[in-house]
Structure formats: C-alpha cells, structure tokens
C-alpha cells in the first residue's frame, strides 16, 4: 500500500471514529433526556430510599454526566448493551431475536424495489418525455408521497378483508406458529429446511403484501435515481460512439450505458435497503410483524431507555456501515479508482 493511499485510509478511519463518537453522544443524550428515572424503573415504585440509593450507586446514576457517558461507552465496548426493562432480557438478545423477521421483510422488499425500479428507471430515461416516462414518473411520485402505513391498511382492506387473497397480520397463520424449528429465524428458509411446504406457502402468503408495499416505496426512490443516472450517461459522448459503431439502441443502453451506472446502482440499492428500516417501523406496526421496527416502537412507547438507545445506535451503525460499503464498492468496481 503506498503512502497516499495509506493516508487516505487513515483519514477515512478518523472520520469514522469521529462519526461513531458523535453517534454515541447523540444516543447518550437521547437516553438522558428521556423522562424516565432509570433507577425507579429498576427498583419499582414502592422501594425505600436506601434501596433506591444503593441501585443508583450501582448503575452510576448519581455520577456527573460526563462520567456516566464514559461508563456507557465502557459498557458498550465490553459488549454490554444493558437489560431491557420491558422484557427483562439483555437488549442485544432481544434484537437478535427480532432481527430475522425484519431482514426477511426488507430483503423481499428490496428484491421487489430493485427488480422493478431499475428496469423502469432505464425505460423512463430511454423514453424520456414520452408517455411511458410520464406514467413511470407518476407511479414513482405516488410511491414517494404515500403514507406507507395507510397503503398497508388499504392493502389489508382490499386484499385480505375483501378479496381474501393474502394472509392478514403476523408472519404466519396462528395454527402454523411453532411448527418448524427455528434455525436461522428466517421463516422461508426454516420451513424449507424442515421440508414443510405448507408452512412455507403460508409464510409467503403473509410476506407478500407488506413486502410489496415496502418494496413499492423503495422502488420509487430507485426508479428516480436510476433514471437520472441513466440520463447522465445517455448524454455522454461514448454513447454516440457506440451508436456510430452500428450498435443497436438496446445494446448501447445495456452494454455501454448500464455498465457505467452499475456501481452507482449498487450504492443506492444498499442505501435503499437501509432506508427500509424506516418503512419497517410503520409497516410492522400495521401488519403486527414481530420485527425490529415493532420492537423500537414498543420500547419508545413505554420509555424503555436501554432498548431505545441501543436500537438508535444500531440504526446509526447500520447506516454508516452501508455508506462505507458503497464507498468500498466504488473503489473495487470502478476501473478509474482501482
């Protein structure tokens, strides 16, 4: 590794550390701002003063704020994220338990979103200002503007209550719950591993509607970005070169222009995947989906401090991680930065 590259690496590492520290300060502040007395939450309403003091001493609630902060960071570094007051379990165990449901939902959604969004974006760019472009623009604008929890409910009213095409809330119908052993936590995979097709189809049936709605909202973003990337490329001179060579429009678009936006697309799909967490918070509430989004909401509603802080921290870390990942992808796949 040469020096220039090394110093760039050092600078980036510095930036990450600073951002992480900022993130910790932010979550710490949110935790301290919460109108919940952490000691009271542990000892309960009836505890006497002596017990209260003792617990306060033990968890450090009587220390000055900056010392509390260092204690918080120290605990995190040892992998101690605290215990959820609501469930009585270590927060990290809770999160590991709910995460697969969200991953399953988000992965399905991103497949829908990217699978439709990228071709539609390219089509819109190629047929710029034609009717197809306007229709696609309208569809993406609706996806961009709709309140996702509302779309979820309308979906339930139409496809579940009226047409009975899909399953209702939850990941499975009641009578299938607990039938397959939990190996990965991803129901589709677990049921396939157990060879239980009935459970598999029931899970698909429950996943279809929430994931499609979530996917539609990320499709809006992906289509928009794909279209603008593609328009940039179609105005490039090398596209004219390809046409001059006698290449057909479709080969020019796919082999030449598309090759130039692949890396950008991976980046925005990664970011869209992260943004699905936001939609998941709402969609999981609508569909009673026992995932990370619902976990955050429930903890916020009851003011479970440790859990809220850890969830917020986790979301921040996921986003920073995705940003780093997309930077890294640029470096790996673009010949100009190799």
């Amino acid at each position: 590794m040469n020096t220039a590259r090394f110093s760039a690496f050092g600078r980036q590492a510095g930036t990450i550390v600073v951002t992480l520290v900022g993130l910790l300060i932010l979550t710490f502040c949110i935790g301290r701002l919460m109108p919940v007395d952490p000691v009271r939450a542990i000892v309960g309403e009836e505890a006497d003063r002596a017990t209260y003091e003792m617990v306060a001493e033990r968890i450090g609630a009587n220390l000055p704020l900056y010392q509390q902060f260092f204690r918080y960071v120290g605990d995190l570094l040892q992998g101690d994220f605290g215990v959820s007051i609501r469930t009585g379990q270590p927060v990290i165990n809770d999160i590991l338990h709910v995460m697969p449901a969200t991953i399953e939902l988000a992965t399905f959604a991103i497949i829908v979103g990217a699978g439709l969004g990228i071709p539609l974006g390219i089509l819109a760019a190629v047929r710029r200002n034609r009717p197809v472009d306007h229709v696609i623009r309208f569809l993406t604008l609706i996806g961009h503007s709709m309140p996702i929890f509302w779309t979820g409910m309308i979906g339930l009213i139409v496809f579940y209550a009226a047409l009975d095409l899909v399953g209702g809330g939850g990941r499975l119908s009641d009578y299938y719950i607990g039938l397959v052993p939990e190996t990965t936590g991803l129901l589709l995979i677990d049921s396939l591993l157990a060879g239980d097709w009935e459970v598999f189809w029931d899970a698909v049936n429950h996943l279809l509607l929430p994931a499609s709605i979530l996917g539609y909202s990320s499709m809006a973003y992906i289509t928009r970005m794909t279209r603008s990337f593609m328009l940039d490329q179609l105005n490039q001179e090398y596209v004219t070169t390809a046409r001059v060579k006698g290449l057909s429009k479709s080969r020019t678009v796919w082999h030449h222009a598309f090759a130039n936006i692949r890396v950008q697309l991976v980046t925005i799909v990664a970011l869209a995947y992260g943004s699905l967490l936001e939609g998941a918070v709402l969609i999981e509430t609508v569909f009673s989906w026992p995932g990370f989004g619902q976990y955050i909401t429930n903890n916020m509603l009851v003011g479970d401090m440790n859990a809220v802080m850890t969830c917020v921290l986790l979301v921040g870390v996921i986003f920073i991680g995705l940003n780093l990942l997309s930077d890294a992808l640029y470096k790996i796949f673009d010949p100009r930065t190799r």
């Binding site: 932010l26 309140p147 009213i157 967490l277 003011g303």
Partner: protein, 302 residues
C-alpha cells in the same frame, strides 16, 4: 462615507442586488411558470386549497370536529356525512377539514425552524471553512446517518409524546440536508468575483454572508424546503399514527388513521379519507418542488 461607497460597489457588482431589483416581476413569472405546467400547477392549487381550508375551517366544516353523537357512530359515507362518521359519531369530513390546520401548523413551524437554521449553518460553514466547517459537517453527517422517522421517533420518545414535541423533533431532523445544500452552494460562490469585490471594499464577513451569499442560496434552499415538506407531512403523520405525535382527540390525520385502524376492516372510510388527504398534500409538495426547481433553475430541469 465608506458605507456609501460599499453600497454603490455592491449595487454595481453583485447579482443579488439585481435580483431584488426585479424580485416582484420574477416572482410573478415563477408563479406563471408553475401554473403553466399541469403537474406543478396541480401542486400549487392543492396547497392553496389546503391554505384556504385551514384558514376558514370553522366556517366550511359541516359539523363540529369533536361533536360526539353515539347514535350516528360508524355511518358509511352518505349525503349527511360525505366521508362517513367515526366510532364516536364524529363527522370524518369535518375532522379532516380541521386537521388541515394542524398540518399547516406543522409545515409552517418546521419550515420556519429548518430553512433559516439550515441556511445559517450551511452558509457560515461554507464561507468560514476550517475547523468550524469540519465540526458542522460532522454534526450533519451524524444526523444524516438516520432515516428521519427513526431519529424523530427517538427524540419524541425522549421528550414525551405530543404534537409540540413531534414538531420539534421533525425540525431537529430536517435541517441537515438543507445545511449541506447551502454549504455546497456557498462553496461555488465563495470565490466569485463579486464576493471578492465586496470583501475588498471592506464589507464585514457577516454582511457578505447575509447580503451576498444567502440570497444566492435562496432559490435552491426554497426548492429543497418545499420538497422536504412532503417528507415532513409523512413523518408527522407517521408519528401521529404510532401514537407519538398529536394525541386524540386532536383531528390530526395520522392519529385519525391510528384510531380508525381498530375498525378499518368493516369501516374503510375511517382510514381511506384521512390517508387520502395525507397522500394528496405530500404529492402536492413533491410536484410543486419539482416545478419550482424547473422554474427557478432551468438548467437542471429533469
């Protein structure tokens, strides 16, 4: 004497003073452009309707928004109740009309917080540079590393669930992108000749930022604020829906959907109409923002 010479200098050299000179005719032209395009015209009209509705809500709403009439509970849409009634017999249309006041309040307060704050942070960071810039941009980075709804959720959880806190939380999460934009714009103007000219004439840094840089950033900030209003509407509705924003019996659209949810499978109108209102307003801001971008800055038209 020096003041005088500065004024002459800037008047002769700067584009901003020329823009203010013809500000009114430009504004007229922008409105005309917006109305000429069907999609931004639609956005403009919807937002105007929202404004007017909010202003005259008590006079046009057919019923009192909180008038409980259990005998009329859960009536489907009819001539008497165009959008039906909810579980307490309240008229859904009247509640939506009154809810427009809440939406308007949210939009107004958030843009009043977010626009100036973002503009101030962005222009100063861009103009001063150095460690101040670094610190400010790190802070915006941290805020930007969250989806806005989740960060607002966390703030509301910390501050307590109420409409006021929801507005504050949204305001806190919505300024960083605007600051980023204002900074980027400032960087392109910072070394322009007319800035150097006013600097050489002894204009203070504050004066340069306020008089010369901010007006140049204004159009793109305006576009950005308009577009982010679409997100603000959605986030506010999401918070209301989760029970962390406006609390019942306030006729906030998101909160109305949350209460309607229990009855929705048999009473679709409880959910469909408030959600339709959210969609319409959010769509209108998106369309208007796109139109504004085209009208204010033809070169980056989509």
């Amino acid at each position: 004497m020096t003041m005088n010479s500065i004024d002459i200098g800037t008047a002769a050299m700067t584009t901003p003073s020329r823009t203010t000179y013809t500000a009114r005719s430009r504004l007229l032209r922008v409105v005309k452009d917006l109305l000429a395009n069907p999609s931004s015209g639609f956005g403009f009209v919807v937002i105007t309707i929202l404004l007017v509705t909010a202003l005259v809500a008590p006079w046009i709403a057919p019923y009192e928004p909180n008038m409980i009439d259990l005998g009329e509970a859960l009536q489907p849409p009819s001539a008497g109740h165009l959008f039906g009634t909810d579980e307490l017999g309240r008229d859904v249309l009247s509640r939506i009309i009154h809810g427009s006041r809440i939406s308007l309040a949210i939009i107004t307060i958030v843009s009043v917080i977010v626009g100036p704050l973002g503009l101030l942070v962005g222009t100063t960071a861009g103009y001063f540079g150095g460690w101040y810039d670094t610190v400010m941009m790190r802070i915006t980075d941290i805020f930007l590393s969250f989806p806005s709804l989740i960060l607002s959720l966390a703030f509301v959880a910390a501050l307590g669930a109420s409409l006021e806190n929801a507005i504050i939380a949204i305001g806190l999460t919505a300024w960083p992108p605007i600051a980023r934009l204002a900074r980027a714009e400032t960087l392109t103007f910072r070394n322009a000749d007319y800035i150097s000219a006013s600097r050489m004439q002894g204009a203070s840094r504050l004066r340069i930022i306020i008089k010369s840089i901010m007006p140049m950033c204004l159009p793109s900030v305006l576009v950005r604020v308009t577009l982010s209003m679409a997100t603000v509407i959605l986030t506010a509705a999401g918070l209301g829906f989760l029970g962390l924003g406006a609390q019942p019996p306030l006729p906030e659209w998101g909160a109305m959907i949350a209460t309607g949810r229990r009855y929705m499978l048999d009473n679709w109108w409880l959910v469909a109409f408030p959600g339709g209102a959210i969609l319409l307003v959010s769509l209108a801001f998106n369309l208007l923002g796109d139109g504004l971008r085209d009208a204010l800055d033809p070169k980056q038209g989509h």
